[in-house]
């Protein structure tokens, strides 16, 4: 018997070793690429790599030859309602991207030839009820699958080679909460993680962990009152409809096995409590874990640590925007995260302790400041019912929007779009919404206006990510609403609101190339290699909720700009 077990165990060990030897090279290579500073031939996750630099290590296209960049091919998606808002991915020479209604396209990265397409059947009645719909902001790759969320609350896995569904999992009762998924999922090890919309929609803003192979739901973390500690921070049972959510993908730190995710604002957006917000108003208390950065164990969904960037956010400045830039400075391991309020937070990566806070934008008056040592808000401006005496800055669209910045390890600079605008505001004491239902929960009337120091505008800043020291700045008449790309070719690409893609010197901000795509951008931009050639890919197509403000603010060309169309435009050297 003992001999039998010895032989049996020996056989098992041999099989296990064989499995490791066959599986580990590919897996190890993937992990190394995902954990690298620079995306190389592939752009395999939303933020480029887990370090969230939005930085390509490719330098075939560089500051010396970018003037020869031209359109290589284009792709036109069907039903591009509200334009295109997604960040493409690329792997092994194939480009993948999603459009409105979660339609997915797999294209030959060198020629644009269609390999497969997938169009999920959605609950159109539910799609029509939603505010943040029907756009999709991205996909994820892993385990031989492509993952995409839907606005009717599903996570779909498609076979990467064929586009055929592997699983189609209903995660949210979207009929009840009127939210679904628009943000890209994040694959970590054998788990695919996706966050729901929330914010002004009454619900509890869950983030889910799903077995990437089987499609089995493994865990759920509610960003509204996800722990006993958090529930105590919502007075009058307001946690039942608290909003929250995590509508953009976070990042992963393998050293601490922590998934960093940003959470959205609480509902109603605007509270009439005034300075007595801990005890009165629509949602008395800190409202954990809204407007926070949270670190979750990807295997269990348990909260490891967190920092609430804006306790009792009363201004709709959620933390769901922003990449998690993981950098080392001296012996410190840091993560840099931008908040919609216009402040950038720098954290210790091991525990979310605040290391610094600096303002990216000039027009801020919702607080007098934020303590750079503790992160404590100084001089909060908590509103009461009635018209605010002076406009609130920044406006609801934020000093920073969801579009990602980029970090170049070559220059050591963080390239980030800032937005300068304010809004007139009248807070109303609204009827409490006690059950999740298909109704927004705003609590105010408002109107965007120019800030005190000039016109409503935007700017690209090149700054030290830790200190915020400014190296150079490019100003725009209107804030660019697309993500930024930095490359090892000493370039920074900015797709702007009017439809022009700009390439700047990463060192100086000098414009080196531009191309007019003919319609505004509110999507991501990436670089990848196919057939030994470097490409730059950017979806064009206008129409996000922030973009919709531009007609009233700026008139043309936005008044005449088509909103329900789009194109993926891919550039290469002549």
């Amino acid at each position: 018997m003992a001999l039998y077990y010895a032989r049996y165990l020996g056989g098992c060990a041999a099989l296990a070793l064989a499995a490791i030897l066959t599986a580990s090279p590919a897996h190890a290579q993937d992990a190394a690429a995902l954990n690298a500073e620079a995306a190389q031939n592939d752009w395999s996750t939303h933020h480029g790599t887990y370090k969230s630099y939005h930085y390509s290590g490719l330098e075939q296209i560089n500051a010396g030859n970018v003037k020869n960049l031209e359109v290589a091919w284009m792709h036109f998606p069907e039903r591009a309602t509200r334009g295109l808002q997604s960040t493409p991915l690329a792997m092994d020479g194939v480009l993948y991207y999603s459009g409105s209604y979660s339609r997915v396209y797999a294209l030959d990265g060198a020629t644009g030839k269609t390999i497969w397409t997938y169009a999920p059947e959605l609950d159109e009645e539910l799609v029509a009820k939603q505010t943040h719909s029907p756009y999709n902001r991205g996909i994820a790759l892993g385990q031989g699958n492509l993952y995409v969320g839907t606005v009717d609350g599903r996570l779909i896995a498609l076979n990467l080679k064929t586009g055929k569904p592997v699983f189609d999992l209903k995660l949210l009762d979207s009929k009840k909460v009127t939210v679904g998924f628009t943000g890209a999922p994040l694959v970590v090890k054998d788990m695919v993680i996706i966050g729901a919309q929330g914010g002004e929609w009454p619900g509890r803003g869950p983030i889910f962990g799903v077995d990437a192979k089987t499609g089995q739901k493994k865990w759920q973390f509610d960003t509204v009152a996800g722990t006993e500690e958090a529930m105590a921070t919502w007075g009058n049972d307001s946690w039942r409809t608290g909003g929250g959510g995590g509508w953009m993908p976070g990042a992963y730190d393998p050293e601490t096995n922590a998934v960093w995710w940003g959470t959205a604002n609480p509902a109603p957006l605007y509270d009439w409590s005034g300075p007595d917000w801990k005890k009165s108003g629509a949602r008395p208390g800190d409202n954990l874990y809204t407007t926070s950065v949270i670190a979750l164990d990807p295997d269990t969904g348990k909260l490891k640590f967190y920092h609430q960037e804006l306790p009792h956010d009363a201004w709709d400045f959620d933390s769901a925007v922003g990449e998690f830039v993981m950098i080392n400075r001296g012996d410190k391991k840091l993560v840099v995260h931008a908040n919609k309020s216009g402040f950038v937070f720098v954290y210790d990566r091991s525990n979310a302790k605040v290391e610094n806070v600096w303002p990216l934008v000039k027009n801020i008056n919702f607080v007098k400041g934020i303590d750079p040592k503790t992160g404590e808000l100084i001089g909060r401006r908590d509103l009461v019912a009635g018209k605010a005496e002076t406009p609130l800055c920044p406006a609801i669209a934020g000093g920073i929007s969801w579009n990602s910045g980029a970090y170049s390890p070559k220059t050591g600079l963080y390239y980030k779009i800032g937005q300068e605008w304010c809004m007139e505001l009248t807070v109303l004491k609204t009827t409490p919404i006690l059950e999740p239902m298909a109704q927004l929960n705003i609590g105010a009337d408002f109107k965007l206006v120019a800030p005190p120091d000039g016109a409503a505008r935007g700017h690209l800043d090149a700054r030290d990510p830790v200190t915020g020291a400014l190296k150079w700045e490019v100003n725009y008449k209107e804030p660019p609403l697309a993500s930024v790309l930095a490359t090892a070719g000493n370039l920074v690409f900015v797709p702007d609101a009017e439809g022009v893609v700009h390439a700047y010197s990463a060192d100086s901000g000098k414009e080196l190339w531009s191309h007019n795509n003919g319609m505004g951008h509110n999507a991501g931009i990436i670089s990848y290699m196919a057939g030994g050639k470097q490409y730059i890919a950017v979806p064009a197509g206008w129409g996000s909720l922030v973009a919709d403000e531009f007609v009233a603010l700026y008139g043309e060309p936005f008044k005449s700009m088509a909103k329900n169309t789009g194109a993926l435009v891919v550039f290469a050297l002549k």
């Binding site: 009820k129 029907p134 109704q439 609590g443 009233a552």
Partner: protein
């Protein structure tokens, strides 16, 4: 059209005291927190204003007085029928459909609020 407006405004004012619908529950709870509207109340004093700030003001700026994400609504030349239809069915890519969210009475209250707006 003006006659219709007067009718809908009157209906909106009395709606919170009609107990037969789920929508009335919400209006009544609002009513219990605030003094009942008086017969001489103008259309801007009724629940439509509160409902507008809860949901519609996200896109129709300055309480509907200015264009923003959505169009300016005050002094709109659109007919009552058009506005009611738009609130119920929305416009894909621009405005959600609220037909299954708001009762007819609530939609009338919102319409009455819009019609009562000054620039």
């Amino acid at each position: 059209m003006r006659i219709l407006f007067v009718i809908v405004a009157c209906m909106a004012i009395i709606w919170p005291w009609l107990p037969t619908t789920a929508a009335a529950d919400q209006s009544t709870s609002a009513g219990s927190a605030n003094p009942p509207a008086q017969p001489e109340a103008s259309s801007s004093d009724i629940d439509g204003e509160q409902m507008f700030a809860t949901t519609c003001g996200f896109c129709h700026q300055d309480g509907g007085r200015a264009a923003g994400r959505g169009p300016k609504l005050s002094k709109s030349e659109r007919s009552d029928e058009f506005i009611i239809e738009r609130i119920k069915n929305g416009k894909m890519g621009a405005m959600p459909a609220f037909g299954s969210v708001f009762s007819d009475g609530q939609i009338i209250a919102i319409l009455a609020y819009i019609r009562g707006l000054d620039d």
